[in-house]
């Protein structure tokens, strides 16, 4: 194989190799090995690290939460409401941290998830306990101040009775969670003494309230809830009459101390409000009505737990869609949905009025497993999750950089190889500086040697002869002598002048000029 052919093969091989590398440049297996594993073990160096999943914090947090209930109820019992406010704020903050941890660790479906749900309800119950006891104390103070005003006094007594009934209902549900919560806590060695104390404190507080309250005649504002039991999405009718109330009187309906609806007294002194079961925990709840300063009695109703089903569909452009329905086929509206990517990263979205959700994800290239989850915290619903779906995210086209680099490398290689082919054209080390500079300014092929030094003149004559013989500029004197043996004497002499530093005589120059300009051939 000749030299040029081998260079072409080499250059082709280089370009092919670069092209192949460029094709893999965005996802090079060599240095992006991921999750390398066998049945016995995984390679830790290839397993991604994770953050925000501090499982070590779970048990201490559970302990802190239970401990907080004891302190909080003790402060309420001692009527130290300022400290109780601080305790409640701290309890809410710890509960928030625990909720996030449960989601990040993906343990909603475990006993830890059950502990979280119980804790959420405990937080709500203790917040209500603090508000209601404080309000009751205020009412007792007001009642003393308005001893002489029978009308106002009756109003205060009605409100006080309502609060007492609420507290009685609250203690039942709070104590009802005790066994399940303690059982879970014991499993993880968490100290449950403060929580047990909190239940005792709760009972004591409500007992003291009941003992201290004053009985009054039945409230003129009546209330009834029908039906008395329902599930998510069901509606209750909350209705009643107000003896002595004038038509158009606004009525506020409260469920668990939160305003749940409004109604207006009609001409018959009756009111009706519709209450839909939405985000409210399963169990016993309390409803009462307020007309100005008049409070109705408290009436209970219960909400039953229901199952849910969530679906997940992966569409083009990494779009996730799905629906969240109850077992009875009712859509779960405006509910939080978690999209868990690759078992770790949770991305939150929300269902719409039809119980459907849609989320666009921005995922890196590769295969991803996605699952939709409904946590159900705060709902009378059981948690659910969709089957895991897989999505393959492709690269967004190849980066032009590897191709530009490959082309630049190929051009650079070509330039280098071309320069390598004429090494003799480079100035020799022995060449005087002024001679090289002069050569650079000479434009071949001219045979005008007037005024040039003998060695420069010889160079001009060499160029002239090489040009006249049609030899390429890349040919050295030795190449020329090999190719045109008839002028070998000229070229060999020039080689001595050029590289051995010899100086030609005037006679030699004349002969060389004649040969360069073709005098011999012309004469012949």
């Amino acid at each position: 194989m000749n030299h040029r052919a081998s260079q072409i093969v080499l250059a082709t091989a280089i370009i092919a190799a670069l092209a192949l590398l460029a094709g893999e440049a965005t996802t090079p297996l060599l240095y992006t090995a991921a999750n390398t594993s066998t049945a016995a073990h995984v390679d830790p160096a290839t397993v991604p690290k994770q953050t925000g999943r501090d499982a070590d914090a779970l048990i201490p947090l559970m302990g802190d939460l239970l401990s907080q209930t004891g302190t909080l109820t003790l402060n309420i019992k001692l009527k130290d409401y300022e400290s109780a406010e601080r305790d409640l704020a701290r309890y809410a903050e710890l509960s928030g941290r625990f909720d996030r941890l449960v989601i990040n660790l993906d343990v909603s479906g475990t006993d830890i998830g059950e502990f979280q749900r119980n804790n959420r309800e405990n937080l709500a119950a203790l917040a209500a306990l603090l508000n209601d006891t404080r309000r009751l104390e205020d009412l007792q103070r007001i009642e003393i101040d308005i001893q002489d005003d029978e009308g106002q006094r009756t109003t205060v007594i009605y409100e006080g009775e309502t609060l007492q009934q609420k507290l009685q209902g609250g203690v039942t549900t709070y104590a009802g969670r005790e066994n399940a919560t303690i059982q879970i806590a014991d499993r993880y060695g968490v100290n449950t003494t403060p929580y047990r104390e909190s239940v005792r404190n709760y009972v004591e507080i409500t007992g003291a309230v009941e003992a201290g309250g004053e009985k009054s005649p039945p409230s003129p504002l009546g209330i009834a809830v029908a039906p008395d039991t329902g599930r998510y999405g069901d509606t209750f009718s909350i209705a009643g009459t107000y003896a002595g109330g004038s038509p158009g009187t606004p009525i506020e309906i409260y469920v668990d101390s939160r305003i749940a609806g409004n109604a207006t007294l009609d001409e018959n002194g009756a009111y009706t409000s519709i209450y839909r079961i939405d985000r409210i925990p399963a169990g016993l709840h309390l409803a009462y009505a307020v007309a100005g300063a008049i409070y109705s009695g408290v009436t209970p109703f219960s909400v039953r737990q229901d199952d849910t089903a969530i679906t997940l569909t992966l569409g083009e452009g990494e779009v996730c869609t799905g629906s969240l329905m109850t077992a009875g086929g009712r859509p779960v509206t405006l509910a939080p949905v978690l999209l868990r990517v690759d078992g770790s990263t949770p991305i939150e979205t929300r269902t719409d009025e039809n119980g459907t959700y849609r989320a666009s994800l921005a995922l890196p290239a590769g295969e991803h497993a996605i699952r939709a989850e409904f946590n159900a915290a705060g709902y009378p619903l059981n948690a659910s999750e969709s089957p895991t779906e897989t999505i393959v995210v492709r690269n967004e086209g190849l980066s032009p950089l590897p191709f530009i680099a490959a082309i630049a490398a190929a051009l650079g290689s070509g330039w280098y190889l071309r320069r390598r082919n004429r090494p003799e054209e480079k100035a020799p080390a022995a060449e005087p500086e002024e001679s090289r500079e002069t050569e650079a300014t000479i434009t071949p092929p001219q045979a005008d040697i007037a005024g040039l030094s003998p060695r420069e003149a010889a160079t001009v004559l060499f160029w002239a002869l090489r040009s006249r013989l049609g030899l390429p500029d890349t040919n050295t004197p030795r190449d020329c002598a090999r190719l045109i043996p008839a002028h070998a004497g000229f070229f060999e002499r020039y080689e001595q002048i050029r590289y051995a530093g010899e100086t030609p005589s005037e006679e030699e120059l004349r002969a060389m000029k004649e040969e360069a300009l073709g005098g011999e051939e012309r004469a012949a």
Partner: protein, 270 residues
């Protein structure tokens, strides 16, 4: 041309080196000839192939055993233990259970798919366990990172998982279905006999995870007969046989030297 000849020689040399490296290494799990992540080429341990005369001053490691022990070998191990030697069996497949029974131990390896929340890697099988017993093997070690271990039943616990550990029977990487959280023991001891439910602690990729534990093991010897530290590669086994059999080594040297001597002798005659 001469330059091209040198280039060809260099390429041949490099290709030869690559072929040699390929032929004398393997990717088999736990193999001493596997320099990859799942090999044990970097395990600083001497391999022994005879259990008859064991030195009780060193620890004997049986790593991921896959060969049965004969009554004589069990007798040798029992004598080793009686003499005060320390035997460490690292197994996560349950293959060591017959040996444990023969040695009169109540400890057993219970294979499974232990997973835990106590981890800083995404993979639930790569997690942290706590040192709970007082043992020289774990001196100065508070926690260890294990790699898809098996539970060890019986004996005095030395390494214990957190309560947030479960047997991921369905392999979905999360606690689901009937799976429940609970603590598991992954290393236990009975006298001088220690059972570690994770042979992966000795693969090259895990050295950096538990350096102090590896350091505490020294001096250690590996049972090369029953452990999976060997190889099925005939080339490697032949080379090992030549290295460990002096007559074979001498024969190979002779095969190399004699032809050269013969050629030189012929040239001198000419």
């Amino acid at each position: 041309m001469q330059r091209e000849a040198w280039a060809v020689l260099l390429i041949l040399f490099l290709a030869g080196a690559v072929v040699y490296a390929h032929a004398t290494t393997t990717t088999e799990e736990y193999s001493r000839y596997n320099p990859g992540w799942n090999g044990t080429s970097n395990l600083p341990a001497e391999e022994i192939r005879d259990l008859a005369d064991l030195d009780p001053s060193t620890i004997l490691l049986i790593l991921a055993p896959d060969q049965p022990f004969s009554p004589d070998e069990v007798g040798s191990l029992r004598a080793f233990l009686d003499a005060g030697g320390r035997l460490l069996i690292a197994d996560e497949e349950g293959n060591a259970n017959p040996l444990l029974a023969d040695l009169g131990s109540s400890m057993r390896v219970r294979p499974g798919n232990l997973s835990s929340l106590n981890r800083d890697h995404v993979n639930p099988g790569l997690f942290t366990v706590s040192v709970v017993g007082n043992d020289t093997l774990f001196a100065g070690v508070e926690t260890a990172r294990v790699n898809r271990p098996a539970a060890v039943e019986g004996g005095e616990p030395l390494l214990e998982t957190s309560p947030f550990t479960w047997d991921d029977a369905d392999g979905d990487g999360r606690i689901s279905g009937s799976e429940t959280f609970g603590t598991a023991v992954v290393c236990a001891r009975e006298g001088n006999l220690t059972v570690l439910g994770d042979a992966s602690l000795f693969v090259n990729a895990m050295f950096a995870e538990n350096p102090k534990f590896i350091e505490n093991l020294q001096p250690i010897r590996v049972d090369g007969i029953h452990s999976r530290t060997g190889t099925k590669s005939p080339i490697i086994n032949t080379l090992v046989w030549i290295r460990t059999t002096p007559p074979a080594g001498a024969a190979i040297v002779a095969l190399g030297v004699l032809p050269v001597a013969w050629i030189f002798g012929r040239k001198r005659d000419e």
